[in-house]
Assembly symmetry: C2
Homo-oligomer: 663 residues x 2
């Protein structure tokens, strides 16, 4: 097996640590050449601190090597590639065909029929005039179709971001009393959300949104969906005076304290439409080919309910309707952005929170459908696209928009092929804005409530929650915390708690890492966990431990205690069974991916402690960065040649044979 | 090499995943027995959730298996062991001899000569009457000698905790104007510090103090030492009106704004004694055998300076002295603990901060000297001992105490053998309290300042900082941040920033883990980083990647992108060199010590993506917990038999031979 190890030896990297330093040559009584069959442990290639820092920063900010397309290209090609990267539309437009257009028109019209009622509804969720929802379904999709790289993302207002913006702003400013100020704050928050999103993308800090783990989001979305649905009881029951708070308790008490305002007409019509919408949703989710049923249902319901109200106007006097909506295109709103005054902190906070949430949703949706069609969506570029679209939106009377999951799914199922479907949708919204606004005058609020509830129900992913419970209990706890945090405390705090728990989970794994007791699988050089592989056998006189974590300040004390306990238990077992004593402890460092100064101190202290008990401590297979630090901190001098091996197998055979030589 | 693998196979654990589920038998077209030479990957032994939770909690709270001494013992032995564990004095007292007593008397008297002037000085640092410092050097050492397990810890007030308590309390309450209230708050804070320390020990949450990493502490101590020293300019220059703030800028401006108060007499005498003390310190640190020079210097200086002041009383009228000190033992102070009123939050916060800091110092000092003499100090038990000693202290007019590094070093060098040296020291303090207090009347404040500066200088460990810079740049940054945080912002915030950076470092390593490209070392089954081992060669048609981190929500997106980039680069290289195409990607999962639901999704998505590109994805050596989750989440079904191997070597040889069979 090791026949040509001599050759390997001679071709190996020269590494400094094994050339004994003259000043400490006295202690270098180890052999200068390794016995055959034992490989030298190499240091990683030497790098200066600047090189290392550069590599590290490149890995942090440019893991995808974004410039690889520009390598070995002519200047003209580079320019074209650069433009294509900035405006993905330039990439697919030249290959665009009439056949693709047909698909895009179908899907564009389909999502428009969903986007118009949802736009109006979500704007109400954010306590904004309904028309803002339509404006937001016009400008942002156009901009996204130029800049975005997803072919299936349907852009527009979404429920979660609308809810969060509505909550955060109305806690400080009343939307009924200070209407103009509220509107200004909404646009300013949208601007900050966009600025924040675009900066994350430009600064390539997109990994920050990864900290909203899936478990956190499942809980958060479910909690938010319940709050959103309960809020809609206002419209569905016809209540006039309703709380502006967002926690479950004030909302429910508000519902039951205003029983006198309940209107049976509203309830009957609202619940019927709600049942209709939920049924169509159920049918479509069972049979994806019938997607158009749930896609067409909201607009159909709006038309039906409006006709109903118009026909029975004299009898249905209790029913609240949307009322007059202005005709015409998005008015400019750049002059309404407020960068001074006491509300700046509020708008920045709201912008940040809604920005993160909408970014998370948009990126996740884009990635999901890209994976289904096997193309790649670049996270950082998507962030820039979504961010610029929101900045532009804030100057044209739009509020926060992103890719909506429900509409994107419909878009995908309707056969969308490119961003043109967004352009078609924007066209449909344009026609609505220009000509069809008066038709919404008698649309009842209850139908908007029913549409929102139907969309919100889709956010409750109990199957994902069950899977979390089954696979990872701590992830499930994080999910529950964000769920109850949103329900009972507040949206922002619920999110913060969930992120905290996710981070705590990482820290817990670092603080209390696994140490496993390895045994040899007979007839092989494989050493495996004796607990898991019953065929792995004890190696006499050796205690072989695998450490399954980086060694940091947070766990070095624990690891030292734990290793000493392993040794104590092994010695007790050997003593009670009258077997030859323990002579050597091997630490398998394969999974120790990093070490810090506390860890280095721990290793050298452990070595000294075991030395005093005439136990040999040996390290097997330290990874590059750990090896480098062992070397730099002079811990290697303590170990010198005889304490470092490339594999556990080589350590065992070399040390055993050296004992035989001594005997 | 694999001659008896058949036997291994038959003796292996039955694991569920490889018995194809009837419902999905259609997809189970993999062979039911593995080819010879290929080992099965086992699931860890099945455990219920409760068993797992129990094991996990035991690892978190009882990693040292504290009850192992009680196993297989008679009831009487168990009682004795229990008492010995609670009162370590019972363990060593029976073996105590006259010879040991001689050593302890010498060391006890030596540390008393240091403890008396330091006690008075540190009390002034905490803005407390000097007598409190002496009280605190009497009761706590007695209690520690009963409960503590370190033989060398010299207990009493320490500079950092005194400084922090002084800062935090005097920010809210003036110690000159509301003297009685300030004293009450100090005792109450001490009580909470003790309560907090003892609870950490009882609840076995000692690992919390591990989060103050060495790097953090080096920076913090240096910053605090500089603040402490600058504060002493008040005494050394004879300034009367001095700021109570703790940041470097207000302290320095206070020094220079009160130049008119500088007293040349004070400066001359103060600087002479400071030079004397620093010289003795320097001598002792160079030659540990001359420890008694620096140990005796403070008391000698106090005596000399007092004599000087008494003799030249008429001429040295500028020099401030300690003044009248009450004679007698510690008065009880339990009635002074304030658990009501507006200052409760302040005392809890102060107690927590000083408690953590003094605990960190005490445990670190105890462990250091225990390691030198090769005995073990149990962290949780030490916490209980230090905590109870502070609770008792708060009821007997003492403030926060712990094991001091400087006095413990003197204790160790003077040959202390057990806690009796603390009792001897307390005896010396008792004699001082009862009979010698009037002698301190004319002791000048300047000598206290000189003593504090000398002790503080010892806290600046520039060698450790240089080592941090050399070994770990990010640890050095954490050190710098805590240093400047303490100097310019505040003690508590400086600490918080440093802990934050340490945690951020862990997260950064998790967020951007290393992926390494493995090659085969010819003639062996060893696969190593090709960057580090130049002899490791490319395996044709394979791309073997080692992932060096657990896969979490925080890095799953990054890892997916990074793996796809490795594949892209490899394919480009192969294409440009006209070498046979890539057919299989092997992920070496040895260092993937944990996985969460996002990571599982990433793996299955990656598998699907590569499937579409007819690339095979194979996992090698998943650890127990990862294997279990792969199984539970049904990701294994995607891989089935052909995608899981125990080692990279087996994967390569098995897949290569299956290709040969097909060809």
């Amino acid at each position: 097996m090791f026949e040509n190890s001599k050759k390997v030896e001679s071709s190996s990297n020269p590494s400094e640590y094994d050339e004994p330093n003259p000043s400490e040559a006295g202690s270098a009584n180890a052999p200068l050449t390794r016995p055959p069959g034992v490989h030298r442990v190499c240091l990683p290639p030497r790098q200066t601190s600047v090189q290392k820092l550069r590599r590290r920063l490149l890995e942090i900010f440019f893991p995808d090597d974004p410039l690889h397309r520009f390598k070995d290209q002519t200047w003209f090609r580079r320019l074209v590639t650069g433009l294509q990267c900035s405006f993905p539309i330039l990439k697919w437009a030249p290959h665009y065909s009439f056949k693709l257009l047909k698909c895009d028109v179908v899907s564009g019209v389909t999502i428009a029929s969903l986007a118009i009622p949802q736009g109006i509804s979500y704007a109400k969720l954010a306590n904004l005039p309904p028309i803002i929802g339509l404006y937001s379904s016009f400008v942002p999709p156009l901009i996204y179709s130029l800049l975005g790289s997803s072919h299936h993302l349907a852009v527009g207002p979404v429920s979660i971001a609308s809810l969060v913006m509505g909550t955060m702003l109305s806690e400080a400013v009343s939307y009924t009393e200070e209407h103009a100020l509220y509107l200004k704050l909404a646009f300013t928050s949208t601007f900050f959300a966009g600025l924040f999103q675009a900066s994350l993308g430009f600064l390539r800090l997109g990994f920050i949104i990864d900290f909203l783990s899936k478990a956190t989001l499942v809980g958060f979305m479910a909690g938010a969906a319940i709050i959103v649905s309960l809020q809609q009881l206002k419209g569905l029951l016809g209540i006039v005076h309703f709380t502006s708070k967002m926690q479950i308790i004030p909302v429910l008490s508000s519902v039951f304290n205003h029983r006198n305002e309940w209107s049976w007409q509203t309830i009957v019509i609202g619940v019927s439409f709600l049942v209709l919408l939920l049924t169509t949703r159920h049918i479509s989710s069972r049979r994806p080919r019938l997607f158009w049923i749930s896609a067409a249902a909201p607009l159909t319901s709006v038309i039906l309910s409006t006709i109903l109200v118009v026909c029975l106007k004299s009898k249905l006097h209790d029913i609240q309707t949307i009322g007059q909506l202005p005709k015409g295109l998005n008015p400019p709103s750049a002059h309404m952005l407020l960068f001074t005054g006491g509300h700046l902190a509020l708008t920045i906070k709201t912008g940040f929170t809604t920005g993160v949430l909408s970014l998370t949703e948009g990126i996740a949706v884009g990635r999901t459908f890209a994976a289904l069609k096997n193309y790649q969506v670049n996270g950082n570029k998507e962030m820039v696209a979504i961010g610029l679209m929101n900045i532009a939106g804030s100057c044209s009377s739009c509020y926060v928009t992103t890719g909506s999951f429900s509409r994107s799914a419909v878009n995908y199922n309707a056969g969308a092929q490119s961003g043109v479907s967004n352009i078609i949708m924007a066209g449909a919204v344009l026609i609505t804005l220009l000509f069809l606004m008066p038709l919404f005058h008698y649309t009842p609020n209850l139908i908007l409530a029913a549409i929102i509830i139907t969309a919100a129900v889709g956010l409750i992913d109990y199957e994902a929650a069950y899977k979390l419970w089954k696979v990872d209990k701590l992830d499930f706890v994080a999910c529950l915390c964000s769920f109850f945090g949103v329900l009972f405390i507040s949206v922002a705090l619920g999110l913060a708690i969930a992120v905290g728990i996710s981070v705590f989970k990482i820290l817990l794994n670092v603080t209390r890492p696994n140490t496993v007791w390895l045994g040899n699988i007979p007839g092989t050089q494989i050493y495996q966990n004796r607990n898991r592989y019953t065929q792995a056998v004890r190696v006499p006189s050796f205690l072989i431990l695998g450490i399954e974590a980086p060694i940091y300040f947070a766990n070095s004390t624990y690891l030292q205690e734990r290793i000493l306990r392993w040794i104590r238990e092994e010695e007790q077992w050997l003593a009670s069974n009258d077997i030859c004593e323990l002579r050597c402890v091997i630490l398998d460092m394969t999974a120790v991916t990093a070490i810090d100064t506390s860890g280095l101190d721990m290793i050298s202290e452990l070595r000294k402690m075991l030395d005093k008990r005439s136990l040999k401590l040996v390290l097997a297979n330290p990874v590059g960065s750990v090896m480098e630090k062992l070397h730099k901190s002079n811990v290697l001098e303590l170990f010198h040649f005889e304490g470092l091996y490339l594999t556990v197998g080589e350590a065992v055979s070399d040390i055993s044979s050296s004992w035989k030589d001594q005997a």
